[in-house]
């Protein structure tokens, strides 16, 4: 980006990546409206020209949202809800129950695994990009992802099995 703020460009980035960035902020903060505030904070700073995008825009945005969310969580530890406040995943009409179960199980995962799953699945990042955002090696990112994905799959299967047994 040049010295002058290209507001159109910043708004276009918001339109393209806003939803994935929201998912990422939610995976750290649990609270939808707080996550949205963090996202707006990051983009408003860009729009006002208080800060500039350096390097890859997508990596920059995810890193900025991560930092803002972690800072907020550190400063407002007592205000962070224990349960997810407001769903952040939209699902096909017939899969609302599954969407709730998925969000709930994602929350049960260790944060380091949840974070990499959100970056990879909804952020559409490869392991190198995701690793750069978190500040770990790509191998560690890949390893955390596989563990997390396997755990999530198993838990969802168990839920589905339990549901089948109770209805059947």
């Amino acid at each position: 980006m040049s010295g002058r703020v290209d507001r159109e460009y910043v708004r276009r980035l918001y339109d393209q990546h806003g939803a994935a960035l929201m998912a990422y902020a939610c995976s750290i903060l649990r609270d939808y409206s707080t996550a949205e505030d963090m996202l707006h904070q990051v983009f408003l700073r860009l729009l006002r020209g208080d800060t500039k995008i350096t390097g890859s825009p997508v990596s920059y945005l995810f890193t900025a949202v991560r930092n803002a969310s972690l800072n907020y969580r550190r400063d407002h530890l007592r205000e962070i809800p224990l349960e997810l406040d407001g769903g952040w995943l939209e699902s096909p009409a017939t899969m609302k129950e599954t969407a709730i179960a998925l969000q709930s199980e994602l929350w049960e995962l260790p944060e380091e695994q949840r974070e990499i799953i959100v970056l990879r699945v909804w952020g559409q990042m490869n392991f190198e990009e995701a690793a750069r955002v978190i500040g770990i090696s790509p191998n560690t990112a890949a390893s955390r992802y596989r563990y997390g994905l396997a755990k999530l799959r198993e838990r969802l299967k168990e839920r589905a099995k339990g549901l089948d047994e109770s209805t059947g």
């Binding site: 918001y14 939803a19 939808y32 996202l39 408003l44 006002r48 769903g87 998925l102 994905l149």
Partner: protein, 127 residues
């Protein structure tokens, strides 16, 4: 990545994150145009120039006034030397005429001018 993982990823992608609210409008910062800056700089230069030249003029006038006043005033005479009692006695004893001349000349520097056209007495006499 095994096939199971890939299939599970596809399953997960059926769920999409909610879109956040649109960004609020940000008022644009007042930008000072280049022309405004240029005009301000030019105005500043003009002001500095005016002040500089005004000061130079006043200094030059002051110097001229001093030079004029110096050229008008007569050469100072050291009356203390001329009017000392010792000197007057010696001149009077040697040549009484010289004493008269000397006293007449000295009186023009020591006494106020009452005969000139610009003197106070002349002005009073005219009234």
């Amino acid at each position: 990545m095994n096939r199971q993982d890939e299939e599970f990823e596809i399953f997960l992608l059926q769920f999409q994150p909610r879109r956040p609210r649109p960004l609020p409008e940000v008022p644009s910062k007042p930008r000072i145009g280049l022309r405004v800056l240029q005009a301000a700089a030019l105005l500043g230069l003009v002001c500095v120039g005016v002040v500089h030249f005004t000061r130079q003029d006043s200094l030059r006038n002051g110097e001229q006034a001093v030079i004029k006043s110096e050229s008008i005033s007569p050469a100072p005479i050291n009356t203390a030397d001329v009017m000392s009692a010792d000197h007057l006695t010696r001149v009077g004893l040697a040549n009484p005429n010289d004493l008269d001349l000397m006293l007449t000349e000295a009186s023009q520097h020591l006494l106020p001018n009452v005969e000139g056209s610009g003197s106070m007495l002349h002005a009073l006499a005219q009234e």
